[in-house]
């Protein structure tokens, strides 16, 4: 009797521990989307999901990875028995990590919406990633402070508005003269802190670096295939980089404690006149408590660094946001994923949410001029994209061979700031690391 009881107990325990986790049932009518952008996670769960369910009867499950944790989250989610159907890849190099997981998309309704088909990522003759948001970056400036500067009686430049800054020489003259008038302008420095805290140097090792990279290779595809890199235009990079550092709100030795959020806060609080960032930063400026910058004063300037003919150079416009569909999902799940994406970017309800809540500048033909987002930086990106005689700079940095290269270059930049490495050594690291990483990447 006792023996049977103990056996039953053991079995019960074993069974209960086996089922303790509770198997989650996969639901074919559910679209599982692993979202990349934490700043709009609430929009997906509170607005997009209910609206989608109401209009189509399908349900949407959105999981958002924490900031900087997308790759970690995606790898673990993909290994689960119920993996995400829609996930994000950050470009042609990013897609290589998931070569076996991306489904061909050329027959989807979502791909049909894409206005410029050359923007999609292709792999072995198949379309595998489709961009959904176009972004632009450059130097964001506060026009109110600029107007105050141009009204000064003893200003050292001839021009009288920030619109007239059309090359590096003018920018340098204005910035350096502004540094002489900090007290009159009521700012701590012309540029916001050059954030170099760990994980926040992407504005320099990726975004700013895009300029010499684009100048050397010309387009994204050539960059993606380059096995060596000369850094021909390193002096141009250094010119603007030094201008940032020497006219900053923060002393050089202190920048390694600053984050990009600190820089954006400085701009929003009116402590500086300029900050390098993209249109995604609009929410950071306008949402900052104590923000003193009026939305009509937030303007963009391209990243001038002394290239020949840079008067016709525009903002860096491109995307790192591509959506892919998981090839391992069932046919029905794939079809539902396409239904969701097509619905979001072409139905009236979907487009309204994209414009007002998600605030994407989309590359789709379903959007008209009036349906673009209304935040000041998105409008500025649009103004620069359509300006006569100006050409936008593509995001060539997508062709950087690995994350390691960015880390190596960022590390070298920090040592240059700290004075423990000279510029030639930085250039040397950028070159050597490129050949090493390109070889590992199989170029």
């Amino acid at each position: 009797m006792k023996k049977t009881l103990s056996i039953i107990l053991i079995i019960a325990l074993a069974l209960s521990s086996a089922f303790a986790g509770g198997a989650s049932e996969s639901n074919a009518n559910e679209v599982y989307f692993l979202n990349f952008k934490p700043e709009i996670a609430d929009v997906y769960t509170d607005i997009v999901a209910p609206a989608f369910e109401e209009e189509t009867g399908l349900s949407l499950r959105v999981v958002t990875a924490a900031s900087n944790q997308y790759q970690t989250t995606l790898r673990s989610e993909m290994a689960k028995s119920n993996p995400p159907v829609i996930f994000q890849v950050n470009g042609p190099v990013g897609v290589q990590a998931f070569t076996n997981d991306v489904a061909p998309l050329e027959d989807t309704g979502f791909y049909a919406l894409l206005a410029d088909k050359s923007m999609a990522i292709e792999q072995n003759g198949h379309v595998v990633g489709i961009p959904y948001a176009v972004e632009g970056y450059g130097i964001i400036y506060n026009d109110a402070i600029m107007r105050k500067y141009f009204a000064l009686p003893d200003k050292a430049v001839d021009i009288s508005s920030a619109d007239e800054i059309r090359n590096f020489a003018t920018l340098k003259a204005v910035v350096e003269d502004m540094t002489k008038h900090l007290d009159e302008l009521g700012i701590k420095g012309v540029f916001a802190s050059t954030s170099m805290a760990s994980g926040t140097d992407w504005r320099w090792q990726t975004h700013l670096f895009n300029m010499p990279l684009w100048k050397e290779f010309g387009d994204i595809l050539t960059t993606t295939e380059a096995s060596t890199f000369e850094f021909t235009y390193n002096e141009n990079y250094k010119a603007l980089w030094d201008l940032y550092l020497d006219n900053s709100t923060t002393a050089k030795g202190m920048v390694s404690a600053k984050t990009d959020a600190d820089s954006m806060a400085e701009f929003a609080l009116g402590q500086c006149a300029m900050v390098q960032n993209g249109n995604w930063g609009a929410a950071q400026i306008l949402g900052q408590a104590g923000n003193v910058v009026a939305s009509e004063d937030i303007k963009f300037l391209p990243l001038y660094m002394g290239f020949e003919g840079e008067e016709s150079q525009g903002l860096c416009v491109g995307t790192e946001n591509y959506l892919s569909i998981n090839i391992h999902a069932s046919d029905e799940a794939k079809k539902n994923a396409d239904t969701f994406l097509t619905w979001l970017f072409s139905s009236e309800t979907g487009k309204k949410i994209v414009k007002e809540n998600l605030m994407f500048i989309t590359p789709f033909n379903s959007f008209t001029e009036e349906e673009l987002p209304e935040d000041p930086l998105a409008k500025e990106v649009n103004r620069w994209m359509n300006m006569d005689g100006v050409t936008s700079v593509p995001w060539a940095f997508q062709g950087i061979p690995s994350e390691q290269w960015k880390q190596d270059f960022g590390g070298a930049l920090l040592q240059y700031i700290n004075g423990s490495m000279d510029w030639n050594a930085v250039v040397e690291i950028a070159r050597n690391s490129w050949s090493v990483e390109a070889e590992i990447a199989g170029r």
């Binding site: 023996k3 103990s6 107990l9 053991i10 325990l13 074993a14 521990s17 086996a18 790759q71 970690t72 790898r75 673990s76 993909m78 290994a79 190099v93 290589q96 990590a97 998931f98 076996n100 997981d101 170099m196 805290a197 760990s198 994980g199 002393a251 050089k252 030795g253 202190m254 920048v255 390694s256 404690a257 690995s402 994350e403 390691q404 880390q407 190596d408 590390g411 070298a412 920090l414 040592q415 700290n418 423990s420 090493v436 990483e437 590992i440 990447a441």
Partner: protein, 281 residues
């Protein structure tokens, strides 16, 4: 009695065994297998042999640098933690007022998690260095000593408690006999106290050595390897390798296997040498 223990052994041990199997043994074995594979998700793998082990050392020298940095850190922190903890234990076992309050205060940092401690110390150190317009990321030496201070702050209290327990367990007749024989304090310390607490020294050395080698969250929060990987320790390097390049997940895994073997070897060697010095009861 014996019989019923046998009978119910399975009933009581099974849940723990199953948990141990699922959350430790299986991942451990699978992790070992993965170090010989190329993979993005751990369920879809291709066997590549020793390629990952070769790449761990040939592609860059961060791993070897991390090893020597970690070794130096472990040696310095083991010595400082144990000396300070032992000195505090000696001081707080004498009959001076307020010993209990001091014991509690010294133990408290141990209750705070590594990440939080890392941030707190980063703020403190950067706050001091700000007078010189510098931060902890300017020089690897700042990071190194910052980590040593942080590790002492966190571990001294814990080791102190172990030493206090051991010192209080020393039979008073031994010390009284030494007093009658006219031994001074240093002689008593060297001939009686230290030999008597040798088992605790073994435990404390073991704990501090392995803690020193396994350090991850404090390293991540305090310096994150800055400047340029120079303060990156083994565990952080393994994590960074995983996401640094496409196809390098297996290399990170290979480094993790090497790391496990290395730490196990050092810890066992250290246990063996200090065990020999313990007195038989």
């Amino acid at each position: 009695m014996e019989k019923s223990i046998k009978k119910y052994f399975a009933l009581f041990a099974l849940p723990a065994l199953i948990c141990f199997l699922i959350s430790f043994v299986i991942p451990f074995i699978w992790g070992f297998v993965l170090s010989f594979c190329e993979f993005t998700t751990i369920t879809d793998v291709t066997f590549v042999g020793f390629k990952n082990y070769v790449r761990a050392f040939t592609v860059d020298n961060y791993f070897t640098h991390a090893f020597f940095f970690t070794l130096a850190f472990a040696i310095v922190s083991v010595i400082t933690i144990n000396i300070i903890a032992f000195a505090l234990a000696l001081a707080l076992t004498r009959s001076i007022p307020g010993t209990n309050a001091f014991r509690t205060i010294f133990f408290m940092p141990n209750l705070i998690g590594g990440i939080v401690l890392g941030w707190i110390w980063q703020v403190i150190i950067n706050g001091v260095l700000a007078y010189f317009e510098k931060t902890i990321a300017v020089d690897a030496a700042y990071g190194f000593w910052g980590l040593v201070v942080l590790m002492n702050w966190q571990n001294v209290g814990y080791m102190m408690v172990i030493y206090i327990a051991a010192i209080q367990n020393i039979p008073t007749d031994m010390l009284e006999a030494a007093d009658i024989d006219g031994a001074n304090y240093w002689t008593k310390l060297r001939k009686i106290i230290i030999p008597a607490v040798m088992p605790s020294i073994t435990i404390c050395l073991f704990l501090t050595t392995t803690n020193g080698f396994k350090l991850y969250d404090q390293n991540l929060a305090l310096t994150a390897g800055n400047p340029n990987h120079q303060t990156e320790m083994l565990a952080l390097n393994i994590f960074n390798t995983f996401y640094s390049r496409i196809g390098f997940e297996g290399v990170g895994q290979a480094k993790a296997v090497i790391f496990t073997i290395l730490v196990a070897m050092i810890a066992l060697l250290q246990l063996y040498t200090t065990r020999r010095k313990e007195i038989e009861n």
